[in-house]
């Protein structure tokens, strides 16, 4: 099955890249942009078909490597 891991910076962590992108969007006169936070997306192919088992496998993957838990949160999704 396919899984998608989304890693985002925790609230309050300074995101200079997001700020720069926010500034660029504003300079393009894109209407309505309040703020931008940049994150990462990992699309992962699993040889597991059971959703609970997939989550059990991905949780340590996220916490050991994909996210730095000091500054980042993660969430796991299973796109249709």
């Amino acid at each position: 099955m396919k899984a998608r891991v989304i890693v985002t910076l925790k609230p309050g962590i300074l995101d200079p890249q997001g700020k720069a992108i926010e500034g660029a969007l504003k300079s393009l006169d894109i209407f309505g942009v309040d703020s931008v936070r940049q994150g990462k997306v990992f699309d992962i192919e699993l040889s597991i078909e059971d959703r609970a088992k997939a989550e059990a496998a991905l949780k340590p993957a996220c916490e050991k490597l994909l996210a730095n838990m000091v500054i980042e949160n993660y969430r796991i999704e299973f796109p249709a």
């Binding site: 962590i13 300074l14 200079p16 890249q17 720069a20 050991k64 490597l65 994909l66 730095n68 000091v70 500054i71």
Partner: protein
């Protein structure tokens, strides 16, 4: 002092580190490949050199921090063995859990490569015995992700336990302000582990050991280590 320098794919300062160690110590360090599972027998000091391990993919130091040799480095540190991480080596130490906190993108998003003054916070560590307390030294910096961050609790613990090793300062020793090159919290340039046998720092003392390149203020760190054993 038996030193071992770990080489990761993308390390590029291992030669500089080895040269500084050999000059201070009178013996060449062992060069150890990251895929090895063990350190050479009798290793006193492990050095994680600067560079761009794994091309800084995922996060700086993230992949190197989980390589096989880091299990051996963790065991070495747990026994009280000395570990020095310079620049990317500092990032690897944070990612491997040997030091707390994280090194984020520089505040102004620019890679900074220039000379930088540091204040030596204490001289009773194995890394700094050849310096004076609050001595101002001039070394090189070259990094894009040196902006040290930690949560408030960790930061209070680091400060309370005297675990800040070096702070960014100007030539006169005034800490912070425009002398902080990357936005690092509390102007932190380097920190110790709880028992002060692990040091991570962003600047490059290994590049300031020869008058030919503009100074020898980095020598003290390697002389301090050579004086340990």
């Amino acid at each position: 002092m038996r030193a071992a320098v770990i080489i990761f794919p993308g390390s590029n300062r291992e030669g500089d580190a080895a040269r500084a160690l050999a000059e201070a110590n009178g013996a060449k360090p062992a060069m150890v490949w990251h895929a090895d599972h063990e350190l050479p027998a009798g290793t006193d000091l492990v050095v994680l050199p600067g560079g761009f391990s794994y091309g800084d993919y995922l996060r700086c130091g993230a992949i190197a921090g989980r390589s096989h040799i880091m299990d051996a480095v963790r065991a070495h540190a747990a026994k009280g063995g000395l570990v020095l991480g310079i620049c990317n080596g500092f990032q690897i130490l944070c990612e491997s859990g040997l030091l707390p906190g994280v090194l984020m993108r520089n505040r102004d998003l620019k890679f900074v490569c220039r000379m930088q003054h540091l204040r030596v916070e204490r001289n009773d560590s194995p890394f700094t015995s050849q310096y004076d307390k609050h001595q101002v030294i001039k070394v090189a910096i070259a990094h894009g992700e040196g902006n040290y961050e930690a949560d408030a609790e960790t930061l209070a613990r680091l400060e309370g336990d005297g675990r800040v090793a070096f702070r960014y300062c100007d030539e006169a020793g005034t800490v912070g302000g425009a002398a902080n090159p990357n936005g690092s919290v509390n102007d932190i340039a380097g920190i110790y582990s709880e028992t002060r046998n692990v040091l991570g720092l962003m600047p490059h003392p290994e590049n300031l050991i020869d008058p030919l390149v503009g100074g020898i203020d980095g020598r003290g760190l390697f002389k301090s280590l050579a004086a340990v054993a």
